[in-house]
């Protein structure tokens, strides 16, 4: 009773941290979110994606061929919420909250200790790394949920009923169809799990083989997508093979950088959407407990140690085989083992727990302060803030102008998502030269970014993003 109350409060905290002001911070939908939203809307309306392909297993989108599961999930949510911005973000936030719950059960299955599992769940609930990706429509976050669920179901099936293994395999399969990093992580990790628990699997070898076969047949329609040129396009474009220099040294560097203290504890991923940049991916106070946890897991080697180390190493591989590393999004799967390590370390020295509480509270408040006050001001541009405002302004002013020329830095998906694409007055141009009017006597509008200037025409309005910088200037001519 008391235990379930504690878990309930941890989930409540997780939900608060992930849902509080979710539409305001981060300030706007960035372009992948908009593409996801529009494709889901299109699927709901016509059964086709924006390129007119019906029920695709790969969404072409911006020619980056997005994996399908997140888009279909959003489509499901849009049945109830309508095509709103909120419908794009809610699945990721809910996946974040569920991951916390699943992690509790997963660690409980592994250790049979309430303290370790509850603290692991709490650590994930307040983890900066996880909150950052739960608060926007990142596919990787849903993939993480499926991976955690898959591992939990795997362990549960060995203890309770082997039939649950089916759920585990389905979950692992869905994760690979949700984000690219799971395609590298899941097959290897599954083999490690199989080897690790071979003594139990051996007893049910027939059932396991049958379940594997059924899952395989279930996934047959997806398989061509994994091996097609389009499916691998993203991997080949971002591959480490395109990086200059020695391949092995590059790999070593890209891999080790994921474990750099500077990256993990002090400045985080420097891409604007991936962290608040001023703090790391993990809290600094986690470091001593992580070290204690590592020491303990090496000293008392168990199945937990193998799982944690395999998870840490495999989680970093998707970031290591690409050009940009460290990359918090591609290495998102490794957010979990760090939290388990912290929990193992904390439980090892229970005397320190009361001492840690004020530090934890302070650092969480500092993170919330940075996230809700500083972050939307400083990095609004990374979230394409201002595009939606521009479009809603154009919608209201459209009737006063004969032609509207928009700079092509505003992606077409935004026009489609915010329902302006069908307007016949609208033209996307590079605007390097002034467009020639069709109706010389009448008023026209030009929407250009602030770094483009012209002496001949006058600015009538500036669209500003959250921090106050101009996104677009509107010229009348």
């Amino acid at each position: 009773m008391k235990k379930s109350l504690i878990i309930f409060f941890i989930l409540l905290l997780a939900a608060f941290l992930r849902l509080y002001r979710i539409m305001e911070d981060p300030p706007a939908l960035y372009w992948d979110e908009v593409a996801i939203g529009y494709n889901a809307y299109s699927i709901n309306q016509t059964g086709k994606d924006e390129w007119g392909i019906s029920w695709p297993v790969l969404f072409r989108s911006y020619d980056d061929y997005k994996p399908p599961v997140y888009i279909y999930t959003v489509a499901l949510f849009q049945k109830f919420l309508g095509p709103t911005d909120f419908s794009v973000r809610l699945p990721s936030a809910l996946a974040g909250i569920l991951t916390v719950a699943f992690l509790y059960f997963l660690v409980y299955e592994l250790t049979k200790r309430f303290s370790v599992s509850a603290i692991s769940a709490l650590m994930l609930a307040i983890s900066m790394w996880h909150i950052q990706f739960s608060r926007a429509g990142f596919e990787a976050n849903l993939a993480l949920m499926f991976v955690v669920l898959g591992i939990w179901m795997f362990l549960l099936s060995l203890r309770v009923n082997i039939k649950l293994l089916f759920l585990s395999f389905i979950s692992f399969g869905l994760s690979t169809a949700t984000y690219h990093n799971a395609k590298i992580f899941v097959p290897v990790f599954l083999i490690i799990l199989m080897v690790l628990f071979y003594d139990k699997i051996k007893k049910n070898l027939k059932a396991v083989a049958l379940i594997g076969l059924i899952t395989f047949i279930f996934y047959l329609p997806f398989l061509p997508a994994y091996f097609s040129r389009e499916g691998q396009l993203r991997a080949t474009a971002e591959s480490i093979l395109n990086q200059k220099g020695n391949l092995l040294l590059n790999f070593q560097q890209n891999f080790l950088v994921n474990f750099s203290f500077d990256y993990l504890f002090f400045h985080g991923d420097q891409a604007g959407r991936h962290s608040v940049k001023k703090l790391g991916e993990l809290y600094v106070w986690q470091l001593p407990f992580i070290l204690i946890g590592l020491y303990d897991l090496i000293k008392h080697r168990s199945k937990l140690s193998v799982i944690i180390f395999a998870w840490l190493i495999l989680g970093a591989i998707p970031a290591a085989v690409t050009k940009v590393s460290p990359h918090a999004l591609r290495a998102l799967l490794s957010v979990v083992p760090w939290q388990i390590l912290t929990a193992v370390g904390l439980v090892k020295i229970p005397r320190l727990i009361p001492l840690t509480v004020p530090v934890v509270v302070f650092s969480l408040l500092l993170y919330l302060h940075l996230y809700h006050i500083h972050y939307p001001v400083a990095y609004a541009a990374d979230w394409q803030d201002g595009y939606a405002q521009t479009i809603s302004y154009l919608k209201s002013e459209e009737k006063n102008y004969e032609e509207i020329y928009i700079h092509d830095s505003l992606p077409e998906e935004y026009l489609k998502w915010y329902t302006l694409a069908k307007s016949e007055k609208l033209f996307r141009r590079d605007l390097l030269t002034l467009p020639i009017k069709k109706y010389p006597g009448k008023k026209s509008l030009i929407v250009a970014p602030p770094y483009m200037v012209s002496k001949d025409i006058k600015v009538i309005k500036e669209i500003k993003m959250y921090g106050g910088d101009a996104v677009y200037k509107l010229y009348e001519f």
């Binding site: 070593q252 560097q253 080790l256 950088v257 474990f259 750099s260 203290f261 500077d262 504890f265 002090f266 001023k278 600094v284 470091l287 020491y295 090496i298 000293k299 408040l365 500092l366 302060h369 940075l370 006050i373 500083h374 001001v377 400083a378 605007l431 390097l432 030269t433 002034l434 030009i446 250009a448 770094y451 483009m452 200037v453 012209s454």
Partner: protein, 145 residues
């Protein structure tokens, strides 16, 4: 319309020297306080203050000498692996060399010694840990019958 040349933003690349650690403070404080809402002095002072930034900078630099990718660039990947094995064994055997492990990066932080001496002390620290680790590995091995 003409495209204006893009502005070259200042590059605040951070390097770990004592002067840099201290020089960085005004910039950090300015950056933090200028974004804070007006009139909430208490919150601003609580979250952004000199002590916090200074401690953070020193800790960041001190820990960077234990960071896997730094050691791998200093001693190659094999050196890094040996260093972490050594660290583990020193703690496992509760060796007195743990003090060396904790203290050896400090001269590198303080700029008290000239550049080359600091590098040598750093290298010496790594080598001591590695050799101690190798010794424990050898000593812990059971003799064959």
């Amino acid at each position: 319309m003409a495209v204006m040349p893009s502005i070259n933003y200042m590059n605040f690349e951070f390097t770990c020297t004592a002067s840099r650690i201290i020089m960085d403070l005004p910039h950090l404080i300015w950056e933090a306080e200028s974004a804070d809402p007006q009139g909430q002095i208490f919150i601003t002072r609580m979250f952004h203050n000199k002590v916090g930034f200074l401690l953070g900078n020193y800790l960041r630099c001190y820990l960077s000498y234990f960071s896997p990718e730094y050691i791998a660039s200093f001693l190659t990947i094999f050196g890094a692996i040996l260093f972490f094995i050594g660290t583990y064994l020193l703690i496992l055997k509760k060796s007195k060399l743990i003090s060396v492990l904790l203290l050896f990066p400090i001269p590198a932080l303080l700029e008290f010694f000239p550049f080359t001496v600091r590098g040598l002390i750093l290298l010496g620290g790594y080598v001591i840990i590695i050799i101690a680790g190798l010794y424990y590995l050898y000593a812990g091995r059971k003799p064959k019958n």
